[in-house]
Symmetry: C2
Subunit: 250 residues, 2 copies
């Protein structure tokens, strides 16, 4: 196996509404694909509640363990939005009124009465952080060290991520190709393992789905070398044919 | 705040296909609601890759920290299905052919040639574990200590969970009621915080959604006492009306 530089990321989803099952997360997949496009691999995701101590402990663990950390959720104006102050606490810095964030919001609320204390909370940012701009609803996220703090609303998170992508130093993106067939996994397993062994630099996965007529399996080849991914896909297709199946490439 | 017994759970989603963004998890919400129905609260979720060391480390951390741990994914017949052997390693026990699991599968594959070594892998279970039955595709999961190992395919996971629900000793389920309105969060924040302070046993959250005409916010009250949840919902409705909004209860 050749030594390959891998740049890693962890996503921390902060929010009781995800943990309770009330809201389905829609940020993981977007972020995983967006990170991969700049050569950063999502290696872990954590979903944690809006509890300051839990946020502090989690952030301090994962920012030491991964190259980048992204958080979503908890940066709005209500009392349950405690991500900013919790991140400040994790880094041991103050959570202060940030002039740039204040100006962005003050320019929006032309009637000073509308820029009330709750909204002014959104202009508080940990000391030393740089802003992550929010072109959708203005209230910014921020970057502190290797931690990027973003909104939980998917539309806002996506806009924020597009704005910070250029700040990331990645390595090679992972290419992914799939071969679908209707053979049962138990029939494919032996040959697939042999292909995995012949391509140790690749990651080959087998994912069954149910619901259609008979088993349908997606055999997924992942790797950074287009040539090697192509070779493995060819080997998987041959395997499927040799077992009497019909490979469908996607 | 009264002392209330809380029984906690952590879900560990094992699978490169979730981390890469290829597959959207569909088990978190189902499990969160199912656990709540028997008085167990999902307190954390982790998504980790199919890497033995990561599984071992994660399981040993979370099984000490939470009352129950549930895993999904990685119990099929292919080479990337390594959850069973990883859990055995985490507990320091052997991963052995389990007679009961073997009999379940052997009875299904009436032609002995079909019960090949790959499928026999699915009859290997950590020593000392009890089976979690799989009425959909037979290959069982298992329970070892406070860790429940289940399939990743939602239909199978759901059937497995319904079969083990009775093994869990929970406390009170969390009741959840929502008040929707079209006021901006920044207008509601102050009053909502006051209601939260008046009801310290409850968890009150504010969740904006975008996409419709103007901001729409869900104000969610969670707690174990129906009376207190009802009182807080009433207070939130009054607040919304007092600010010129129209509360919609759901």
């Amino acid at each position: 196996m050749t030594e390959e530089k891998i740049v890693t990321a962890c996503l921390v989803i902060i929010g009781n509404e995800i943990l309770s099952g009330r809201t389905q997360d829609a940020n993981l997949a977007y972020l995983a694909k967006g990170l991969n496009s700049v050569g950063v691999r999502m290696r872990e995701v954590r979903v944690i509640p809006d509890v300051c101590d839990t946020i502090v402990e989690t952030i301090n663990e994962v920012r030491a363990k991964f190259d980048y950390v992204f958080t979503t959720g908890g940066i709005g104006p209500t009392h349950d939005d405690i991500t900013g102050e919790s991140i400040a606490k994790a880094f041991g810095v103050k959570h202060l009124l940030n002039a740039e964030a204040y100006n962005i919001l003050a320019a929006h609320y032309t009637n000073p009465a509308d820029f009330n204390p709750a909204r002014q909370r959104m202009a508080h940012i940990p000391e030393g952080a740089t802003l992550v701009y929010n072109p959708v609803s203005l209230a910014p996220g921020f970057q502190l060290g290797n931690v990027f703090v973003m909104a939980g609303v998917p539309k806002i998170m996506q806009a924020m991520f597009e704005g910070i992508k250029d700040r990331l130093s990645g390595a090679l993106p992972v290419l992914q190709r799939s071969v679908f067939c209707s053979l049962p996994e138990g029939v494919i397993a032996k040959g697939l393992e042999e292909i995995q062994h012949a391509h140790p630099d690749l990651d080959i996965g087998s994912y069954p789905t149910y619901g259609g007529p008979g088993p349908r399996v997606g055999l997924v080849v992942r790797g950074t070398s287009e040539t090697e991914v192509g070779r493995a896909v060819e080997a998987v297709s041959k395997l499927v044919k040799s077992l009497g199946g019909e490979p469908v490439l996607e």
